[in-house]
Symmetry: C2
Subunit: 168 residues, 2 copies
């Protein structure tokens, strides 16, 4: 099975989570020097006594051709990834609930855009492109079982031939 990534939008990503990006209607603060693009994700981090954590994930790109073999979900909390650098990255997701391979979607996300997976959304781990990339991650700390992983019933080959963002 092969998948091509599509460009992410707030709308096409909405069944899976929030696209974290600047918008057209910020609050103007700091004496006119700052736009506050306010409250961009539904953080959901305090179930069963959970607490919000901030971490940095430093991810290296997988070898090409890129193949997806596993997916994971967090049953207790959301998880947000926001890039600190200037490279695009990929996001593979499937709806919460019983995993459905036919509903798997693959998005390409631009630098300056983050994603917040809602609780239970199936997703692939960090898929950096081009170079080792740092992401701010906002997720949940605390007790409780908060990660399920499954092998994909068949490996998914990622077709990046249409991605102009990729380095040779």
């Amino acid at each position: 099975m092969k998948l091509k990534p599509q460009a992410i939008t707030a709308e096409n990503f909405s069944p899976f989570g929030d696209l974290i990006q600047t918008g057209s209607d910020p609050m103007i603060i700091n004496y006119g020097n700052t736009e506050r693009h306010h409250d961009l994700a539904r953080l959901d981090l305090t179930e069963q006594g959970g607490t919000p954590l901030v971490s940095i994930f430093r991810s290296k790109p997988l070898p090409l051709p890129l193949t997806l073999e596993v997916m994971e979900r967090h049953p207790l909390a959301s998880q947000a990834f926001i890039p600190m650098g200037s490279e695009p990255y990929l996001v593979a997701v499937a709806p919460a609930g019983e995993f459905d391979l036919k509903a798997l979607k693959l998005f390409i996300v631009q630098p300056g855009q983050g994603v917040n997976y809602h609780r239970g959304t199936w997703h692939h781990y960090c898929l950096a492109l081009n170079s080792v990339s740092d992401f701010i991650v906002i997720d949940r700390g605390g007790d409780g079982h908060n990660c399920d992983e499954i092998p994909l019933p068949q490996p998914i080959e990622v077709d990046l031939s249409d991605c102009a963002e990729l380095q040779d």
Copy 2:
């Protein structure tokens, strides 16, 4: 009164908050493809029914020569700033409690490094350098009085003459 920025370190910033940066002892996850630099800041966002928020601040550099005239603090919560771009920025802070001009410190912070002001730490608003800069901000939503601002008893002139990071 004039101040020169000093380079920030986890240690010299510790009276004011956390320096958010990668370290030497990450967790290795995602089948060896990701370093998780875990739980880098003491987020303190749930007092009086508060909830964590994630926002993007887009800040323009103040005109040069740079002068500081006000400071603010958040009595109910921490506030974290993590740059999404590749420019350094400045952080001006003073200890929590009654504002003490003599205890004001000025730091220069590199891209890839964030800061988390602890509850009550006096700080200047976003001080981008070189170009309009985006920051991920993790702070508190909810009711309650969570911002005090004071004018500085005298303006502070910032001496950037030793900052090699600055563009002409």
